[in-house]
């Protein structure tokens, strides 16, 4: 059976508590975003019968969430492929909606990791055969991948810095972004080193925050949204768990998930108006632009240079400011989806890409280990 291209749509989107939300638990934040996303779609919690969630600090969050918000799901999914989980939630929600296994799917996430823990919450144990060497995870894993990309392709720290600078320029246009002060390439290069070649400005933020999206079948989408964001493709791939087992440090499984999502959607990279990539570290953006086909392998460094992915550039990437400057509450994937949908719905305010019809949102889980890609489009793309 082919993917149900355009037969489901996002009709409600909300984010909540990005930055610092002292005193709130992760479930508080996830629910706060969810009621706002439901209200955006003109719905109540009791309308939800498909629940997709994975909180960082609650293994049983599907049940916790259902109880807290008074949802009685027919279908509960807690797939936890790290920050890419939410792209997979959209994939399974689309199949379930299309099959009639649920009618309204809510995909939610929240984390209080900044206020609650002050650092990235780890939901898994460090691997036995890596921990004795004291990598600072996850940064060292991405640093190892970056070292390889630099060795093979001549990618420079300056190229990486261009990614951080573009994100900050977008964040300046997003009132909800955590860091909005101007940032230069020199600032990034001079910042404290964390794990060579990555400095602190190559690393994502540690913030609180929550996001939620509501999906229905296309036949009722227009009853709930002025301009629904239709799901045209969604695909995932897992290649490893630990960085020492990554098959090729400069080629992620985004090459698989992206190719399949594009095939489902019937479009290619050149058709995409706006791109949201999980930028846990600056190297991610370079790897994913290559692996998703926006440029050739090895050319990502040159591609991001000269402001090409920033405001006014040829390819808008991470228009909310990304995990580098907007927010990063642990598993960021749902925020890429929320921003992609917001752009397709044309509600992104001063950072709106004019005439945005096709948006790609790519999630990354673990240490480049799980990759998942979704493509959203406006009604004119059906």
């Amino acid at each position: 059976m082919a993917f149900p291209r355009g037969r489901t749509a996002i009709v409600g989107v909300a984010t909540y508590g990005e930055g610092e939300s002292p005193g709130y638990s992760s479930i508080d934040l996830a629910v706060a975003a969810s009621v706002r996303a439901l209200a955006d779609a003109g719905m109540k919690p009791r309308d939800v019968d498909g629940l997709f969630i994975g909180l960082p600090d609650d293994f049983l969050s599907g049940m916790t969430f259902a109880e807290y918000l008074g949802v009685r799901p027919r279908l509960t999914d807690n797939n936890r492929t790290g920050g890419s989980a939410f792209q997979t939630h959209l994939l399974w929600a689309a199949l379930a909606l299309d099959a009639g296994e649920c009618d309204v799917a809510l995909i939610a996430y929240g984390s209080n990791q900044r206020s609650g823990a002050g650092k990235l919450i780890r939901s898994s144990k460090p691997p036995t055969y890596e921990a004795p060497y004291r990598p600072v995870m996850p940064a060292s894993a991405y640093a190892l991948a970056a070292s390889r990309h630099m060795h093979l392709y001549g990618t420079s720290r300056r190229d990486l810095a261009e990614v951080a600078v573009a994100a900050r320029r977008w964040a300046a246009l997003n009132p909800a972004a955590f860091l909005r002060d101007p940032l230069t390439v020199e600032d990034v290069l001079k910042a404290r080193m964390v794990s060579d070649p990555l400095g602190v400005r190559d690393c994502c933020l540690v913030t609180d925050g929550a996001a939620a999206v509501v999906m229905t079948r296309a036949d009722r989408a227009r009853d709930h949204a002025v301009r629904p964001a239709y799901l045209l493709g969604a695909a995932a791939a897992v290649s490893h768990r630990d960085i020492s087992s990554m098959p090729d440090l400069t080629m992620t499984a985004a090459a698989e998930s992206g190719a399949r999502a594009f095939a489902q959607a019937g479009v290619g990279p050149a058709d995409i108006d706006v791109v949201q990539l999980y930028d846990a570290f600056t190297i991610n953006v370079i790897l994913f632009l290559e692996d998703l086909g926006f440029c050739a392998k090895g050319e990502g460094g040159a591609f991001v240079s000269g402001g090409r992915i920033g405001p006014g550039g040829a390819l808008p990437v991470n228009t909310n400011g990304g995990g580098l400057s907007y927010c990063h509450p642990g598993m960021y994937g749902l925020f890429t989806i929320a921003e992609a949908a917001t752009q397709v719905m044309r509600r992104a305010g001063s950072r709106q890409i004019e005439g945005a019809s096709l948006a790609l949102a790519h999630g990354n889980g673990g240490v480049l280990a799980s990759q998942a890609t979704v493509i959203l489009g406006g009604e004119e793309t059906l």
Binding site: S147, S244, L249
Partner: protein, 122 residues
Amino acid sequence: MSEAPDIVFRRHLEAGRFMLQRSRETGAYIFYPRVAEPGTGCTDLEWVEASGLGTVHATTVVRCKPPEADHNVVLVDLDEGPRMMSRVDGLPVDEVRIGMRVRATILRDGDAPLIVFVPAES
């Protein structure tokens, strides 16, 4: 039931031996120790002593707050095929280079033995 692979590996390491598993059917080496060969599912695994030789595949330096010293973390491609995380001792932490030939040595890390590498030329 045979002994768990992790226990066998660590007992060899305590005795000063760096061992890899190898499938009798495919001849492929495996690291980290496991109960089946990835991909094939072969369980006909035997223990073979590693040559200890390898090549640095990727490298980073973890920058620490003083007084803790910076240290390198590398991925090493063993000559037998598998890749593993380790570190390279015997030269300044930021002078480890991709492509460098290295040789394994077993140190004590607190209570446990630890495989680290040194430049193969030394």
